[in-house]
């Protein structure tokens, strides 16, 4: 009986193994080989983000009509930087184009792994570019401090803006009846009135999770208070008087007027607060902002409007665009550059704007029928002021160090200034070991 049961098991295992091998063979043979049109192949690497949906849905088919055969490889944000940098550095040639997050450009630039797109025929001095966007594609940067080792290098255009994105203000028009609140004081004051009237529960909401989320939430406030992050020599100066004032405001007044769990909020939770009708105002990127008009995604459709971020001294938002680079090891390099040229042309950008994404050429902003009502507001914000994050390859670590301290202060509800001091020292130490001074 032991014998027979073992036989049965063994035959099942054998059968199973055979089945597995057979199905492997079948799958491999029958994997639908995508009908390879006679198009020019371009392999694009992208991270999953709602901001690319209009591109995926409307522009890729358009590209196919123009003779490009796009292979679009999507992965999760948390792994793409490492994957693509490893690919570029090793010359493995798995991608023709990376859709980078703009803070990654310095890292790729410093490692010298991207093609010179200027030499490839893309004109970076075209006036139609949004100035602050195209600036991000140069390494070393044309303005601002340069990392050691690149002081005398000639700025080369290694990336071109792909899809614009930046922070804007989303606010409840039934609370801020006179249009977008102009100053932070107004946000809090009118917000409190809105709470008293029962229209909202909290004047503001933002992300408090340590790391990129909290720094991104604090940055526009920091900028609007007049703060500057680094000086010309990369000394951290974000703990200046203005910087500390912004931090105190952030961990104090802002926290008191936000949902109690805000110290643990990430983009899903802050999005839920504004779309669910609980919050009066939020500064966010377009991905979440665009949900404001979809009744399936929000309970207050029609009550949310967009505006320029509130000011203290200035009204500056943070910019974070998708920016495209071509690795030197791209297998279809010529196709890739040709695709980029076609894509950044005014005509295609106009189509992108129609599809609902923020374009990168000024002329595309002014088209008759932008795909979403955020686009004109985005242009207003760009003209009012929008700054990218500091152009250093070590930004990821700096952001992390700062995020940890800010989060601690946010949890305590005080000590914003002291947190900045601590973070500044840590950043200074880190950059010292990294050879910055």
């Amino acid at each position: 009986m032991m014998h027979s049961s073992r036989l049965t098991r063994r035959s099942v295992i054998k059968g199973g193994l055979g089945l597995a091998l057979a199905s492997t063979a079948l799958t491999a043979l029958s994997l639908p080989m995508p009908a390879r049109a006679a198009g020019k192949k371009v392999i694009i690497g992208a991270f999953a983000d709602g901001g690319l949906t209009p591109f995926k849905q409307k522009i890729i088919p358009l590209a196919k009509e123009h003779g490009f055969d796009i292979e679009f490889l999507e992965d999760e944000y948390g792994v793409t930087l490492e994957k693509w940098f490893a690919d570029a550095q090793s010359g493995a040639g798995q991608y023709d184009l990376y859709l980078l997050d703009d803070p990654w450009v310095p890292q790729f630039g410093a490692a010298n792994v991207l093609e010179d797109l200027g030499a490839g025929g893309i004109d970076g001095s075209d006036k139609d570019w949004i100035g602050s966007m195209i600036d991000m594609g140069y390494w070393p940067p044309q303005q601002g401090p340069r990392v050691k080792g690149f002081e005398n290098a000639k700025p080369t255009l290694i990336c071109v803006p792909f899809v614009g994105d930046l922070q804007t203000l989303t606010y409840r028009n039934d609370v801020f009846t006179g249009g977008a609140p102009k100053t932070w004081d107004e946000v809090i004051a009118k917000g409190k009135e809105g709470v008293a009237a029962g229209k909202i529960k909290y004047p503001v909401v933002f992300r408090g999770v340590s790391g990129n989320p909290i720094v991104t939430s604090w940055y526009p406030i920091f900028l609007s208070f007049g703060g500057a992050f680094f000086d010309d020599k990369w000394n951290p100066i974000f703990n200046s008087a203005e910087g500390k004032a912004s931090a105190e405001f952030f961990v104090g007044a802002m926290k008191q007027n936000a949902p109690s769990g805000v110290v643990e909020f990430d983009s899903d939770q802050e999005g839920a607060a504004i779309l669910g009708g609980e919050a009066g105002a939020i500064i966010q990127y377009s991905g979440n902002a665009l949900k404001a008009d979809d009744p399936a995604q929000t309970k207050v459709a029609g009550k949310l409007d967009f505006g320029v971020v509130p000011k203290q001294e200035k009204a500056i938002a943070q910019m974070g665009i998708f920016i495209a680079g071509v690795p030197k090891s791209a297998p279809n390099k010529a196709n890739s550059i040709e695709f980029l040229k076609w894509y950044v042309s005014a005509e295609t950008q106009a189509k992108l704007s129609e599809a609902g994404s923020i374009p990168v050429k000024r002329s595309a902003f002014g088209i008759a029928k932008p795909g979403n009502r955020l686009i004109p507001v985005a242009l207003q914000q760009l003209d009012a002021g929008a700054l990218p994050r500091p152009r250093t390859p070590d930004w990821a670590k700096v952001e992390e160090l700062l995020g940890i301290e800010l989060n601690k202060a946010l949890q305590a509800g005080s000590g914003g200034g002291a947190a900045l001091d601590t973070a500044a020292k840590q950043v200074k130490d880190y950059l010292t070991t990294a050879g910055y001074y």
Partner: protein
């Protein structure tokens, strides 16, 4: 050769193929291991003595990377988080696993089903286990929130809170690996001799007495082995944390493996990360070998 024991070994005699046979049989395995594991290990040691910038080595810094580790607050913090995690998870797994093993020691209705079902958590891909628990903990889409809302409450926040996320990770590990402890301890219990227990029963000893005076002492070796094995593996936990929290919020669940991975791949400090991993490898080896030596002594007694 003469010899009465099973584990007799052949003395090398004869000539030609016979002489070479052991080496021939060992060779392929050793070659693969040397090439793919040992050579990189050596390479990693060399990389750990260099400083890297933007992915390429730029300077030789000797042992500086190793020294820097011990004043790196983030490294020390991740070490502490790992130690806490391992200690908590393994102890809970040992206790619960032991209880389960005792429970399943004697046949009863449904025990077959129970033992079959218990295999599932430990064979599921760790990445999927993390997905399972993310779906439980998520504050907007998770099971806990759904249950809470069904009972009139609000959303449940786990992964955003440092303490709760850490506990959540421990719960995940316990769910996943207690079955392994259970299996090992059950096999151990089943291999214990019957006579002492018979004698105890005849003497009228109570259940707790039997457990404390007989079961526990006799199970010590097996328990020790199970705990050591599980501890060594727990130090290398990566997949689940990567998917569940990626080390967050903040540094609450940043185990040493995650910090090392970030240092190497996110912050591009390859040499420093190599030094980190060498250090951790040595620590675990030291732990393991002292544990084995301890076990030999326990076994002998």
């Amino acid at each position: 050769m003469q010899g009465a024991t099973q584990a007799r070994r052949y003395r090398l005699q004869g000539a030609g193929l016979d002489l070479a046979l052991p080496y021939l049989m060992l060779a392929p395995g050793l070659m693969i291991v040397l090439g793919v594991l040992v050579y990189p290990l050596w390479d990693g040691l060399r990389a750990s003595t260099k400083a890297y910038r933007y992915g390429s080595p730029v300077a030789d810094v000797g042992l500086q990377n190793y020294v820097r580790l011990w004043s790196d607050t983030q490294f020390l913090n991740s070490l502490w988080v790992t130690v806490k995690f391992v200690a908590l998870s393994v102890s809970v797994e040992a206790v619960v696993g032991f209880a389960l093993a005792l429970f399943c020691l004697h046949e009863f209705r449904g025990i077959r089903l129970l033992r079959t079902v218990l295999i599932i958590p430990m064979v599921i891909t760790p990445v999927v286990v993390a997905i399972v628990f993310r779906l439980i903990y998520a504050s907007d889409a998770g099971m806990l929130t759904a249950l809470s809302q069904a009972m009139g409450g609000g959303a449940v926040q786990i992964l955003g809170s440092p303490l709760k996320a850490f506990i959540g990770l421990v719960v995940l590990d316990v769910w996943e690996w207690t079955p392994l402890m259970f299996l090992i301890l059950l096999a151990g219990l089943q291999s214990l001799p019957h006579e002492p227990f018979e004698a105890a029963r005849v003497d009228g000893a109570g259940a707790w007495r039997v457990f404390a005076d007989l079961t526990l002492p006799m199970m010590r070796p097996v328990l020790a082995v199970a705990i050591v094995l599980r501890t060594i593996d727990a130090f290398g936990t990566f997949d689940q944390v990567f998917v569940l929290t990626r080390g967050g919020p903040g540094e609450a669940t940043r185990l040493i493996s995650i910090y090392g991975y970030d240092t190497a791949f996110k912050f591009q400090q390859t040499g420093y990360a190599a030094a980190l991993f060498v250090t951790i490898g040595l620590v675990v080896l030291a732990l393991a070998f002292s544990a084995i030596r301890l076990l030999r002594r326990v076994d002998a007694s």
